[in-house]
Symmetry: D2
Subunit: 303 residues, 4 copies
C-alpha cells in the first residue's frame, strides 16, 4: 500500500506556482472563476457557515479552549460630555477553537513545509512563511456542497467513517453537480449535529468521520482550491494505523490546500436539498493575523 | 442649532423593523439587492480591505492594545507516529483593535440602546441584545466607494476635517456613481496613510477627519445599510464642542447602523480611479462572537 | 433566627480604622505581633501553601478557567552575539482560579462595600477602592492551623458540612493552641484531597465543607486578621437556604477580612501533627495588581 | 581577557547538588539560615518590594507588554438570593513584565541549561526542567541590601554603569554588613527612580546600570542564594561588546542563581539608611506556575 509520503510526493504542488508561492491551491481560483461564481447568485439568500464563538463551544479544554470574552467597558461609570456611553471588549482564544482556516503553515513533516520552505520558518514568534494573512484576498469563488450524510441517509456519519472518492462521486451525481478547478468544496458529514444535539464537546472532539487519503488524489485531479467540512479535522479519526493526521500532511504540506473546519452547513444543506442547487458564491476571508497559522472565519454562501 | 438628540429622534429607525429587531439598517439589504450586487462582479478582481492584525498595529496602548499573538505549538518537541508536526496559536486582543465592525450594542445614551432596549442589556458578561453575532449573515451586498481624499486632491484630509453632505454629493457626481438603498458605503479619507507612511500610532489615533452630524440625514435618506471608513472612528475628531462621539450616538443608537472602521481602501481606490468603477460586490461577515460588541473583519470587495 | 444582615451589622468593623481604611482586619496585625510571629521560627522548615498553577487545575470551566500558559520565546530561532538564548512566557488566567486572596472589593451587598464605600467603586475598570494591592504589605504574621478534618478523623469533611465554633474550639484544645488577635487562621477541611485524589474538578467545585455563619462571631471576637482554607470558598456549600455566600458577605463586606482559598495544607498538617506545633510564621503577600479584586498567592509557612 | 564561557565554567555549580537538582544556589539556604534570618525581625516593620502591576507599568510594548486587567464581573446584572454581589477579574500578562523572578530555565547557551539539562527541555509547552515552580518553597531567608546608589551619592547610577566587586565591598563596609552563605542579596542602583520620576518606560528599558561579569565570582565565593535588583535585568546594559546578557548566562545557566528584577527598594533603603540596619528577613515566594520560566512576585522584607 502506498504510504502518505508517496501519495504526497505524487500529488505535490511544490513549485507549481513558483518558488515563492505561499497560496497553494488557492491559485486555482482565476478571476474568470470568480466572475462565474458571482453568476451563481440568483435569489439573494445568504447563509453564514461560521458557528458561534462562545464559552460553551466545542472545545472540551486542553490544548485548545473555547474563546474567553471579557468586557473592558460596559458603559457603567462613564460620564462623557453629551451623554455618550460605549462598551468595549477583549477576546482570548486559540485561533483554531471554532470555525477556522488552517493556514499552510499549520502542518508539516520531514522538516519541510509546503513549497519546500524549511520547518524553521515556524517558530515561537509564528510563521515567517505561509501565515494565514497570505490568504487575505481569499478565499472566495464557487462553492459546492457535497452532502455525504444525506447521501447515506443518516443524521451523521459514524466516528471513524472514511469518506471515499466513490462517496464523493456518488453524492455529486445524486445532487447533479460537478466539482472542478478552483472550487471551494464543502463536505457535509453531519458531525456538527453531534455537538448541537448532545452538547457533548468531548464526544464531538473524540474522533470524527471524514475523508481518507484516497480522496487527496480526487481533490488533486479536480484542482479543488480549498476544502471545508463540518467536522473538526477534515479527515476520518481514528485514521490510518500508526500515523497521525496523514490527510492533513498531504493536503496542507504537499498540495498546499487550506482547510476550513468546524463549520455549520445545516441551514445551507436544507436549502440545497429543497431547491436542488448545490453550488453558490462562497466568500470566506480569513482575518489577516500576521505570522499566524490559523484564523477564525465566518464564511458566507450566497445563492 | 439642532442637538444630536433632536437629530437622532428625527432619524430614528426604532421599531421600523419591529420591536425585536437587532439588525438595524442591515435590513435595508434585500435579497434582490444581493442579486444585483453580485452582477457587479465583472472582472473577478478581489480587494481585501482588512489591515494586518499585528503587534505593530495602530493602537498606541491604553484602553485598546494591538493583538498579542502567541504560539501554543511550533512543531518542536513533537514525536507523532508517521512524522506529523503541527503548529497552533492563540490571540489576545480587543475586538476593536484593527479592522472592525461596531455592533449596535457598542454605543448608547440616555439609558437606551438601539430600538429602545435598556442599557442594562450590556453588562459585564457582554451584550444580551444587539451583539455582533446578530449580524452574522451580513454584511454583504452592493459596496460603493466615495473617495473624498481624491476629490479634494490630498494625500489625506486633515485631522478634524468635517466631511459634509456636499462633499459626498460632489464625490458621487465626480465618480459617476449613486448611493442608494441597502448600499454599504465606504468613505475614503486617506487617514489610513497617516499610519502607513509615518508608522506613528499616536498621531493616527489622536483625532481624524470624518463625517459630521449633517451626514447622518444624508445616510438616512439614502437608506444606506452600513458605513465604513479608513479612519478609526468614522466621525471627525475633535468633533462638536462639549459632546463626545455624537455621530456614533445617532448612527448606532438611533439609526441602527453598523460601522466598519480602520479599513484599508488604498488598493481598491487606485483600481476604482483607474477604471472609473466605484461600485462592487462587498462581503464583510463579522466573526460570530456571542455577546460581543464588536468583531474583527477582513471585508472583500469584488469587482 | 438572626439574618446575615443582622450578624453583619453586629460584627461590622466599618470605621474601626477610620473612614479611609482599605485594609480591614489586617489592621489587627501589629508590629509587635510580627516580631512575635518571627520568634516561632525554630527549625527553619518551610512549607509552601500554594497549589500548582496549571492547565489541569481545579477549574472545570465556565466563569473561571484554569491558567493558560503560553511561551513567547523558547530560545529557538535566536542568534544573539555570544550565544545567549532566552525563554519568555505569558499567562492568561482568572485572578481567582487557584490559590488566591479575595480582596475586600470581591463581595458586597445592599449597594455598599466594606467600610461603607459605594458599590460603584467597583466597575468595568476594576476596583477604585479596596483593591488587592492595598494589602501589598500583608499578609504576614502568626499563622495557626486548625485541622478540623484530623479532629474528625476523616480524609475530608463532607460536602455541605458546616464547621461550627465548637469544632474550632475543640480543634484548638486538642492541638494545644490558641487563636488570638492578628492571627492568620488556616482551617483544614481536607477538601483539597478531593481534587488531588480524584482529579475531578467538577466534584471539587460542586459544593464543599466549610465554616457557617456562626463562626463569623468567633473570628470577630478573637480579632483574627485573615482566614485561609483548603476549600475554594471558605464557607459550607450548599449553605443557608435562600441565600448565596452569606459568610462571604459578612466576613468580607462587614468585617473586612481577606480570605485565602484553594490552598494546600497537606504537608504542613502532617508536620504539625508530627511535632504538635500548630503555629508558625506566615507570609502570604498578594501580587500588587492595581484595581484587582483578587490575587494569586503562594503563602509560606515557616516553622 | 577571560570569556564569559571560561568564567561560567570556573564558577559552575553543575552537579554540586546532584544531577537532578533544579534549585541551584537556593540550596545554599539551610534551615539554620532560615532560623537565623527570622531572628533579624526586631521591630516588625514590613516592606513590600513588588511594584504595582498596572497598565501604566514599565513595559513600553513589544515582546513584553504591561498587564491587561479585565473584569469578568462587577456585581452589575446580578440577582442572587439574599443580595450577594461579587466581582471577578482576569489578567493577561508576560510573567516577567513587572517585579519578577527569572527561573533557571530562563536563559541558556551552547545547548545546555543549568545543571547540564539539554535546551530541548524548554519548548513550546514550557520548561520540563527548572521551571519556576521548582522554587516554590523559596525564596526565603536572610536578605541584605547593598545600596550602591547611596554609596555613590546619586539619585541613580548612570545607564551602562558597571557595578564592580569593589563597589559591593565598599558598600558593605560603609553599611557595616557582610554578605554570606545563603543570603538573598538586593543591590540598589536607583534605576527604579528613572521610571517613577519620569514615567518614561522607553528610557527605563533602554539600558541600565548593573553588575558586571566580575561580580559573578564575588557572588560565587560568598555563596549567595539569589540576587535581586531595582533595575530590569540585573546587569549593566549596554554590557560587554559583542555579547548579549553575559551576566545572565553565567549567573543563571552556570551558577544556577535565580534573579529578581524590577523591584522597588526605595522605602526599604530609606529605612535602612535611617537605622543603619541593612539585613532583614526576606520572603519572596514565586507563584507556582507549572512549566513557566518566570513568575511575578511581591517580596516582603521584614525588619
Amino acid at each position: 500500500m502506498e504510504s502518505f509520503r508517496e501519495i504526497g510526493a505524487r500529488l505535490s504542488n511544490w513549485n507549481r506556482w513558483g518558488p515563492d508561492d505561499e497560496r497553494g491551491t488557492v491559485n486555482h481560483i482565476t478571476p474568470e472563476a470568480v466572475v462565474a461564481a458571482a453568476r451563481l447568485v440568483r435569489t439573494g439568500r445568504v447563509f453564514d457557515l461560521g458557528i458561534p464563538f462562545a464559552s460553551d463551544g466545542p472545545q472540551p479544554g486542553g490544548a485548545r479552549i473555547n474563546p474567553v470574552h471579557l468586557m473592558r467597558d460596559t458603559g457603567a461609570n462613564q460620564d462623557f460630555p453629551g451623554g455618550f456611553h460605549f462598551a468595549d471588549d477583549y477576546i482570548f482564544m486559540p485561533l483554531q477553537c471554532a470555525s477556522q482556516w488552517d493556514s499552510l503553515a499549520h502542518v508539516f513533516y520531514d522538516g519541510l513545509l509546503y513549497n519546500g520552505y524549511p520547518a524553521s520558518e515556524v517558530g515561537p514568534r509564528g510563521a515567517g512563511r505561509l501565515a494565514i494573512d497570505k490568504l487575505g484576498k481569499g478565499i472566495t469563488g464557487r462553492g459546492v456542497l457535497l452532502d455525504v450524510a444525506r447521501l447515506k441517509g443518516v443524521e451523521w456519519l459514524e466516528r471513524g467513517y472514511v469518506i471515499t472518492p466513490a462517496d464523493l462521486d456518488e453524492a455529486a451525481v445524486r445532487q447533479g453537480v460537478t466539482v472542478g478547478r478552483g472550487d471551494i468544496l464543502l463536505i457535509r458529514t453531519g458531525w456538527r449535529r453531534v455537538f448541537t444535539t448532545t452538547g457533548d464537546s468531548r464526544r464531538f472532539m473524540d474522533g470524527e468521520p471524514g475523508i481518507g487519503l484516497q480522496c487527496a488524489e480526487w481533490l488533486y485531479e479536480r484542482e479543488v482550491a480549498a476544502l471545508c467540512s463540518d467536522n473538526w479535522a477534515i479527515e476520518a479519526l481514528p485514521g490510518e494505523p500508526d500515523e497521525k493526521f496523514a490527510v492533513h500532511c498531504v493536503l496542507i504540506r504537499d498540495m498546499g490546500m487550506p482547510l476550513g473546519e468546524i463549520l455549520d452547513f445545516e441551514e445551507l444543506a436544507e436549502d440545497c436539498a429543497a431547491d436542488g442547487v448545490y453550488e453558490f458564491f462562497f466568500s470566506g476571508p480569513p482575518i489577516k493575523f500576521a505570522n499566524a497559522v490559523g484564523s477564525p472565519v465566518n464564511p458566507l454562501a450566497v445563492k
